[in-house]
Assembly symmetry: C2
Homo-oligomer: 419 residues x 2
Amino acid sequence: MIASIITIGDELLIGQVIDTNSAWIAQELNKIGIRVNRRVAVGDRWDEIWRALDEEAAHASIILITGGLGPTADDITKPLLCKYFNGKMVVNEEALKNVTHLFENVFKRPLTPRNIKQAEVPDTATVLINPRGTAPGMWFEQNNRIFVSMPGVPHEMKGLMENQVLKKLSEKFELPYISHKTLITFGIGESMLADLIEDFETHLPTHVKLAYLPNYGLVRLRLTSSGIQKEIIEKELKALFEQLQLLVKEYLITNQDEPMESIVGNLLLKQQKNVATAESCTGGYIAHLLTSKPGSSAYYEGSIVSYSYQSKEDLLRVRRDTLMQEGAVSEAVVKEMANGLLNNIKTDYAIAVSGIMGPDGGMPDKPVGTVWVAVGNRQKLITQSFHFRFDRTKNIQLTAMNALNLLRTFMLADNQAAK
Amino acid sequence: MIASIITIGDELLIGQVIDTNSAWIAQELNKIGIRVNRRVAVGDRWDEIWRALDEEAAHASIILITGGLGPTADDITKPLLCKYFNGKMVVNEEALKNVTHLFENVFKRPLTPRNIKQAEVPDTATVLINPRGTAPGMWFEQNNRIFVSMPGVPHEMKGLMENQVLKKLSEKFELPYISHKTLITFGIGESMLADLIEDFETHLPTHVKLAYLPNYGLVRLRLTSSGIQKEIIEKELKALFEQLQLLVKEYLITNQDEPMESIVGNLLLKQQKNVATAESCTGGYIAHLLTSKPGSSAYYEGSIVSYSYQSKEDLLRVRRDTLMQEGAVSEAVVKEMANGLLNNIKTDYAIAVSGIMGPDGGMPDKPVGTVWVAVGNRQKLITQSFHFRFDRTKNIQLTAMNALNLLRTFMLADNQAAK
């Protein structure tokens, strides 16, 4: 079953907005056995949108459309779809109820004629009510093809997909059974990993695919199998997945598809320990990662983001001498930061980081990308230095990932030693 | 002059990778007067790539292609382009010199036959040497159309675009002049904004377009004009942009296209003041936003992320009584957090936030989405409560945006009062 994604909006074509919707939609479709073979982005232009609908419908059975459903004049997707599917515009009562509810109870603003227009839909569409926004989703069927139009606002699109579209697609088509199993490695590059498991990969059955997904020092390995009989598929995949885990066990950090902050969070929960962070160069990003997981208050105490020299002294009692002699990016300073944190806050574990993220601030002996990390507890601290060679955003992310991974290895060793 | 972007790679179609290249390419093309009218992403499949080349060439004069140039078996773009443009593969001496140099001096690894193959190109291509990687760029001309193939690695693609492709395109075509002007509003919805400027929008000349770009409480309004005579275009656009600014002035926060953290950062720089943050529910996200801007150390001191009750007491001297009587999400607590911060750290301004981001932790009188914010300085604090109704991620982002905006308004009033 083949799908195509059409994203609509001038903002996509002048580069003002990065399209994150398409990647998310593709992932979700994959999970239920639908392959995306094209993604097309077009502007808010009648002829371009029309052409995209024609072209994509010629090659795919499912066409998912996002964007262009706002209440303003540049949003022309709805009238276009009305014409494309030979409908006429009618007020949908349920959609109107939703818009009215949103304005009365959520936005607390008077409903204008422009807002009421948001409840109009082509009479040839099945309406998908969007409780997260004023623009309803629309489902059309024509020549054995499904067309679904959704708002471009990610939160609204995701709500519609999760609660309605994916279910309706699964019901509509006889989709094969698809199963994925994912593990995550850390500290080994994609090509070395490929060499390590070359034999395994070569001998995989043809209905099982292996994907390498490198991201910020991690490589996710995903096995995907599909077929008709669920039990056979699952049994075979389980055995292959166990083989794969053994092959990469030296680098394996989890056999779930979960982000680093969850791996560390779950480990803390399991050990009934908590952690705090002292961040310089990451500027709160490690804290943000840890707290982006619901329930993180069970193991996360807080962070001291000491971005300036002054705040390192004021908040973490880093000594001025150390800062002056060793520089803010040094083993001595991250150790003092970690100790300052452990003395100031009731935490079992501490993470401290300091580095130069760029583009400025590099020095001959400490170029941009130089990072020091300390992790540990009241008994012991370990440190590690890194040298990243990317832009500011990626340097910050890599620093956070490596700091969390260093804590993970420390905790595992700490727990082992305690036994 | 119309361009189309084709991105090639299975990773784009299973949602592993978010395509950031296209947005960047579109921005750069726009600046030199080339309009992108489509972006297409296809997998590493012969027929799909071929079809994309045919279709895009039918409607655009410039086709920029990224991806699929790696050394592994799934990368088929180069042989395909060789066939598409009726060439035969030859080793390009300059490309070979580049590959050899990279392996000897940068990667410090032996050159393999697989790497040498990277220096082969179709003899119908003009080679664009890529000093940042092993895959050269390729420039083809056919039927008055330009096709440029570049690696998908962002850093490599950008190097080729900046140093070669944009210059060659400017020389090749007589390009129209394109100009954009963007302003940002806060605190008004897209549809109310549309009502406010309906008359202005209706009377815009046909060569000027207005776009609405809503995002986390902000709405960006962008005017775009194009034509032959730069001076006339600029003069007219400037006048229209001034009109627009007047119409929305109550909600206007900047007349530049810049994120909230830059607006606040620039205001701090201008006033030569600094800020620190005390974050509970945002868990370091405000710190992360502020420090994601290079040079933020000039005005950002740091943050105390007091995620737990304990850390609010330990690090910010919030009184246990206040926490018990009022709850952590209360006006009294954010005021004490702000004061604790101002007493602990040498900062002019403070931001303090506490809230319930969900999905759990809501209470009948304080549902998920309840947020208190305090901002101010040693002389004065102001507070505001918010009630967001989204998921955890969006609630965190909206809290950060609104807290930064509250500081912005406080700073402007503070500066006004000082005069």
